[in-house]
Symmetry: C2
Subunit: 322 residues, 2 copies
């Protein structure tokens, strides 16, 4: 019997749930929406953290709980929307000792304060594994919400920061390399204390000129594919945004830094397309914004032209069930 990939599972489910009448953002954007009026949509996002697959060795329970909130907030960041409230569903493996519950509470509370939202309710259950499922709720004007499907020919492709740190950090944690753990602390921090780019996302959406956006929790390559597919365009990169420390790490371990940055996964920078005319103004608002490529006709596919050589960007990255 065939074991489905995460994408195939989602396709099977959404096929069943799709009853003809269209839902506001479809099933393929970072968030979902419930229309209230032409000027106001309720925005909802659910993201489930499962310890056995999403929590690497060396991550504390408090860090795991915080990370669960970051994952949900990151999707709001990509749309330029402030999440107002959070619902928390917990699966707690026994025994439920006070120390463990307090660590969970601290991690959740810390993240809620960090991103200026309020935990308003939830559910607790006994489970065989730690499960932290976070639902964020916000309000948006649909005309200002940055969708995934708005990229246009000639737009600039940009990111809010460099990639590769979390993939490198994950390698260190998984291989338990003590020496590197000391020398490459920022790589570990990228994995253990990721940051959602909420302030940057809201600033960019408010400024105007962002035509599409997604977060990069599935990795840079897959995020680019998602924007390209949703918008029916091609993308060519003229540079791969590799974090210098990830490049150094890759050189030391004789790894491909490009692979770390493209296919590493679980990153939290935003991937956007921007009207070229607006790029300078946006760059002034968010200094870390960097141009990495251009939107091209769809038949060009997804490529990176680096030093004369054209490289295909594969549609792979962080995916469950692989």
């Amino acid at each position: 019997m065939k074991n489905l990939t995460e994408r195939e599972i989602i396709r099977l489910l959404t096929y069943k749930f799709d009853h003809g009448s269209s839902i506001p953002l479809g099933f393929n954007d970072d968030v979902s929406a419930v229309p209230l009026s032409p000027k106001a949509w309720i925005i909802v996002k659910t993201d489930m953290l499962v310890a056995s697959t999403d929590v690497p060795p060396g991550m504390t329970t408090q860090e795991a709980a915080r990370k669960a909130v970051v994952a949900t907030v990151s999707d709001f960041a990509a749309k330029g929307i402030q999440p107002q409230a959070l619902m928390v569903s917990l699966g707690i493996p026994g025994p439920a000792i006070p120390k463990k519950i307090q660590e969970i509470a601290r991690g959740l509370d810390q993240a809620a304060i960090e991103y200026n939202c309020r935990i308003i309710g939830g559910d607790t259950n006994q489970a065989e594994d730690l499960i932290v499922d976070i639902t964020g709720i916000g309000i948006a004007n649909p005309e200002k919400l940055v969708r995934r499907d708005g990229a246009r020919l000639g737009d600039i492709v940009a990111v809010t920061g460099p990639f590769g740190k979390s993939a490198a950090g994950l390698r260190i944690l998984k291989s338990n390399r003590k020496k590197q753990a000391v020398r490459y602390r920022p790589l570990l921090r990228a994995v253990l204390r990721p940051k959602a780019r909420l302030t940057a996302g809201i600033a960019l959406a408010t400024a105007g000129g962002v035509t599409s956006s997604t977060d990069s929790s599935d990795g840079l390559a897959q995020s680019l594919h998602q924007v390209a597919e949703a918008s029916n365009v091609g993308i060519n990169l003229d540079t791969i945004p590799i974090a210098p420390i990830a490049r150094r790490f890759a050189r030391e371990l004789r790894l491909s830094a490009i692979d770390l940055a493209l296919y590493g996964g679980e990153e939290y920078e935003l991937v956007l397309t921007v009207s070229p005319r607006r790029f300078p103004a946006l760059k002034k608002r968010v200094r870390s914004l960097m141009k990495i490529g251009t939107v091209e006709p769809v038949d060009r596919g997804l490529t990176a032209k680096l030093g004369g050589e054209r490289l295909q960007i594969e549609d792979r990255g962080w995916e469950h069930f692989t």
Copy 2:
């Protein structure tokens, strides 16, 4: 090290999340709220189904997925609110074969159609156990929402139907009694295909005169305690609403039918307090509505006066981590 009960866990968590400024419905009502305006609140509820604790032997994956939706919808029913949209977070134990995913999809879709709401998004993950976490989203006028804390002295205590069937059905399923399974099909159906009392809940709330309400997913006794505690009142029952078939089953197995009805747990009828003046009109709207007792001063506690004897109603029922 102490192993906490579910209630202690919730207390530890909400203590940490409570930052002084009050949240609209507190942490102790059936649902949570995000105020939009004085006339409109976003209503949110999350309920997580974990197969190892919430799915009895004999329940199919499709039934489990459907039940997860029923549990969330039931809380909306208690508040008299139509849930408009559902978010679905799945933890799927490997291997993720098409048949299993299709069963999940069918169960979710079936329930969404049954309760007239729309699945608008979600998240899928690999997990060690089947997890179905459902978040419902609706809109309510806060003046019309039926809270848990509104019971007043002299109110009638009522339920939308009799109790004990699911506790009895669960016993049959857990002991694998084939003979009884055939003779007591309605008991099994109560467990395998529970129904949220959404139509009744909305009809009652719309009619007016319901002063407080909760669903009975923790069992009748605990639901009564929750209403009494939230409203700071006592309750005396003059009858225990036992389903005739549950009474028959109890007699055959020499069990206490009263215990089945009070402490069985995972029921889906609504427990309400009603202004005595409005009771006849409400009873006309929802024919199954039955008076079971009266709201009394808080110092009387929770009792049932049956044939001259006063019985204490204990604060126990269906709780995780026990």
